[in-house]
């Protein structure tokens, strides 16, 4: 691992952003039809000088062919032929750009077709979500839906780009009332960190550069926010979790991360024997995985799940040498003090806060496939590195964002099957116990997918929940 990355500009001697020193932020963009999302993405790429000459020329050429006088930056993000022909975006596309302060992976989620499926996919890996709102129309149903997905998936930071303010002569009034509306709605959804920015993606106001057209706005630009918010490995998840427990200072995210301990799903048992790179490692036995959260230290007490066996961390290894500690996101191999029976699919947890494994749990499920989900359907649950058989025991309701009240828990309408793009509350019965945790506190070990047991396709995104809507006295995760 290289030296600690910079929080300020990191350029090498040739003036090139030095990615051995800058940090990485993953973010997603979501918006409804025609709110200018593709233009905003194009603008971010353009203003950070991330568009290469030939790509820009191709877009220029197509813009002309379509009879447009200005270069349509939105065209930069149309990837597939069907998209170009229909002038719409179909699938999540990934974009890459960097500034001297940070490298960005952008999951561009289209708003036209299957927006829940796409937004859920993009938001699941995001440290931040940028939601577009057309300043002329304000908060619309799809905005609420995007915010609900952000709340459901606990995206640590939400940026609302209130776009097309140029069409309202850069007046402050509409922006202020939209901000108010968004904040009220976000609060009821339990979204910890929402910030609104008045922008014109077309003209570049407050996207990468502060605008002279909005002297009444003193906040940061969209890019400034993206350059400074904490990423997952800087405790973004921990901060979001801590916020719900009343901690509002990001500086305490580290402390919060200490409290929630660490998790490591075991991907492989490394036992090289005859295939060892040298004789001294013949009898090596290590458990390979990526730290899902927290910091593992040599000497830490460990609980192996689902067996519940206990031991301690004897060593943390990488190909370039041993480590004293491993942080969220690092891929390592852990050696344990005792010979314990461990296989791929097991979860190693810090003993201080390990959750017990369970065979039944409740969850929000975003249903992402054409055929409906019904009670008693058999599915596979993919959780960490484990895949186990499961059955749907109840479907308790479907999220309806149009219901009054507006919280994730109060917006549950009656319903007994989930259709494509529905978000429902379900209970699952597992064939083998898993250490499923509350997603609100554990973004990795609370997340799971449902798979089709026959063809293996991915059916749904799930987030385990510790509390049942409307039944606060009942434990949501029960053994």
């Amino acid at each position: 691992m290289s030296a600690a990355p910079q929080t300020t500009d990191a350029l090498d001697s040739a003036g090139v952003p030095d990615t051995t020193r800058t940090s990485l932020l993953r973010f997603a963009t979501a918006g409804s039809v025609d709110d200018g999302k593709s233009t905003l993405v194009g603008r971010l790429l353009h203003d950070t000088k991330s568009i290469l000459a030939d790509a820009y020329e191709a877009v220029e050429r197509v813009s002309k062919e379509r009879g447009s006088e200005e270069v349509d930056l939105a065209l930069l993000t149309d990837g597939l032929r069907a998209e170009r022909e229909q002038g719409i975006t179909i699938d999540v596309a990934y974009r890459y750009f960097s500034t001297p302060r940070r490298t960005f992976i952008l999951a561009d989620c289209p708003g036209h077709v299957q927006y829940t499926r796409n937004t859920v996919t993009g938001a699941s890996t995001a440290d931040a979500l940028v939601v577009l709102i057309d300043a002329r129309y304000g908060v619309v149903e799809q905005t609420k839906r995007h915010l609900a997905v952000a709340a459901l998936l606990r995206v640590p930071h939400v940026i609302i780009a209130v776009n097309k303010i140029d069409l309202l002569d850069y007046a402050s009034g509409p922006f202020r009332s939209i901000s108010q509306h968004v904040q009220t709605h976000a609060e009821s959804l339990g979204l910890p960190n929402v910030i609104c920015v008045p922008v014109s993606a077309l003209n570049g106001d407050n996207v990468a550069e502060r605008s002279d057209n909005t002297p009444w706005y003193e906040g940061p630009t969209v890019l400034e926010i993206l350059e400074t918010v904490p990423s997952i490995d800087q405790g973004a998840d921990a901060f979001a979790a801590a916020h719900r427990h009343g901690v509002t200072h990001p500086g305490r995210a580290d402390a919060a991360a200490e409290e929630i301990g660490w998790r490591l799903p075991v991907q492989l048992v490394l036992r090289p024997q005859d295939a060892a790179v040298s004789e001294e490692y013949r009898e090596y036995r290590g458990y390979a995985g990526q730290v899902a959260e927290g910091t593992i230290r040599v000497g830490d007490e460990v609980v192996v799940q689902p067996s519940g066996k206990r031991t301690t961390v004897a060593g943390i290894d990488t190909a370039t040498g041993p480590l004293d500690e491993a942080h969220t996101g690092q891929s390592v191999a852990v050696r344990l003090a005792d010979e314990v029976d461990i296989a791929r699919g097991d979860l190693l947890s810090s003993a201080s806060d390990a959750t017990e494994s369970t065979k039944t749990f409740h969850a929000h499920v975003a249903w992402l496939t054409d055929r409906p989900l019904r009670v008693r359907d058999r599915v596979l649950v993919q959780h960490g590195s484990a895949v186990v058989q499961a059955m749907v025991t109840t479907i308790d309701g479907i999220l309806d964002i149009s219901l009054p009240g507006g919280t994730l828990d109060s917006s549950i309408a009656k319903g007994h099957e989930l259709q494509l793009n529905d978000i429902g509350v379900v209970s699952l019965q597992l064939a083998q116990p898993l250490a499923v945790e509350d997603y609100g506190n554990h973004r990795r070990t609370g997340a799971f997918c449902l798979l089709d047991p026959q063809d293996g396709n991915t059916l749904a995104a799930g987030t385990a929940r510790a509390q049942v809507p409307g039944t606060a006295d009942e434990s949501y995760i029960s053994i």
Binding site: M1, S2, A3, A4, P5, T7, A14, V16, P17, D18, T19, T20, S23, L24, L52, D54, G79, L80, A82, I90, D91, V92, A93, Y94, Y96, I105, R117, T121, S124, G219, I225, P230, D233, Q234, G235, P250, G251, Q267, L268, L270, R271, P272, V277, Y281, Y284, A288, G289, Q290, D317, T318, A319, S331, R344, L368, Q382, G384, A447, G456, T458, A461
Partner: protein
Amino acid sequence: MTTDTPAPARLSTLDSLEAEGIHIIREAVGTARKPVLLFSGGKDSVVVLHLATKAFWPGKVPFELLHVDTGHNFDEVIEFRDRTVEKLGLRLQVAKVQDYIDDGRLRERPDGTRNPLQTVPLLDAITEHKYDVVFGGARRDEEKARAKERVVSLRDEFGAWDPRNQRPELWNLYNPRHLPGQHVRVFPLSNWTELDVWRYIEAEGIELPPLYYAHEREVFQRDGMWLTPHDSVRVRDTDVIEKRTVRYRTVGDASCTGAVESPAVSIQDVIAEVASTRITERGATRADDRMSEAAMEDRKKEGYF
């Protein structure tokens, strides 16, 4: 939103990308019956192989390598390929486009390029060796169709990619499940840019074929690219052959892989050049990608890499 400075990041961009790549490789191997890495000796496949050596340390890389040889490769690249395989004690399978041309299963194209001919030998090799997980070095930043492909990408019995019907890829829960006859392509460098690859090559001291660095070479200009006179390239009477200082940004089929004029002799030079470059990697050097805007999408649908 507060103005407090967040805790400093513990992982740099490269640390994060390396950790993600290792995670992807381990995850795919953890579920595979018979994985394989497509290895050409090109820089991206070299980096994937490097990540694999780290993922399974202190064990050897637990899968074999497959090269689909167009017969139009640069000698330096083949020499590098064989040396790398031997150094790591791995097994290499070679599927030869030439064999298919010799027995008439494939016909030479009028333009002489063999890149599009790789698909059939590749799919036959996958079937013959019963590979179920096929690692490749493709990156999403290379091309617009690739930007939409999943890290773990399902291929049907014909090796085809169905861009309209991809599985959602959620969190870091990759799904390599497939039916008999199907396989998955796995791209551990999906989130890397060309610059990231070069930074990583520098940081890890990874050896590459010498073609990637500037050297003097006899070349001639065609369609705005510098091609090298090679067994596979028909030099026309009108072609003017001259000596230039060039380097290659990709090292594929010599008949359609162009060199760029460059003084970049070291990794640091290359990084500075890549960072300031005005033309994307494929646009500059791959004639076959220029055929149409949808060239790559079409080839992927047919089972290409």
